[in-house]
Amino acid sequence: MDRKTGGSSPCASCKLLRRRCAKDCIFAPYFPPDDPHKFAIVHKVFGASNVSKMLQELPVHQRGDAASSLVYEANARVRDPVYGCVGAISYLQNQVAQLQMQLAMAQAEILCVQMQQETPFAREQKIGIDDDDDHDDKHFMLQHSGFSHGVNQFMSFSSPGTNVVQEPLKRESLWA
């Protein structure tokens, strides 16, 4: 008998693992019995014991998000057994690189426009003086460069702008 005490049905994990679903089952809040596929896929990719350990190491208020992200990653890996989530990350990295290039070109164009609109005399007088627009641009770029730095730090597994799945086994510096 694998019925939970009190008559309620076991969670999806205990159903799949064919065991008694305890009151304090760590999976029960996140893998309800009405969605067995969710746990099946997580179990297939990560293994029930690994998932259990990962959830147990987290404070209770973070376990829901952790379970959801594990389901997302497991789904991605089942859809794409080679790249999993990394495929999406590579695609997004390329988008970021393209947008940064377009932004750089647009900002260069602004500078050209500004220079064309200034008279030579006004240009000489203006050297070293920031106007409000420049200040806003610089402020944003400073913030933006900090954000970029944050992304690059997080993405330190690969060099920014490159496909993370290229050059296998050359990421030694990360693991040394």
Binding site: G47, G84, C85, I89, L169
Partner: protein, 145 residues
């Protein structure tokens, strides 16, 4: 009774094991087992990168990784191992969101870049009446593929 432990006539029980110890991949070293010649993990988890396998084992489990690689054609296994290592690394760094956190971060970055690009192009359109009308949204949604 010979008391020498280094008698050359004594065949140490370990030369075969010692030799295979030296050739063991990171996975077999971690799991403390003999690394066979056809070990599916050894090409992708060399002994020089022990932390890489430790990460992957912690998140996916050695048997899941081995099974995943075995089910793939040989020419795709290196990239699969690399991708799994990356995902495991991100999950160890961020136990709540893992690689989903990286995706969120990149999406935020894209959103900010798109907003700034639209703002910049609007600025160009306003201050450059001689250039033809140019939608600030042009090119924003171009697929990189």
């Amino acid at each position: 009774m010979s008391t020498s432990s280094h008698n050359s006539n004594n065949t140490s029980p370990s030369p075969i094991i010692n030799e295979s110890n030296q050739r063991r991949c990171a996975a077999c070293k971690y799991l403390r087992k003999r690394c066979s010649r056809d070990c599916v993990l050894s090409p992708y988890f060399p002994a020089s990168l022990p932390h890489r396998f430790a990460c992957v084992h912690k998140i996916f489990g050695a048997s899941n990784v081995a099974r995943t690689l075995q089910q793939l054609p040989v020419h795709q296994r290196a990239q699969a191992a690399e991708a799994m290592s990356a995902e495991a690394y991100w999950r160890v760094q961020d136990p709540v969101y893992g690689s989903v956190g990286v995706i969120n971060l990149l999406q935020q970055h894209i959103y900010m870049n798109q907003r700034e690009l639209a703002r910049t192009r609007a600025h160009i359109a306003i201050h450059s009446p001689t250039r033809g009308p140019c939608s600030p949204w042009a090119g924003l949604w171009t697929s990189p593929i």
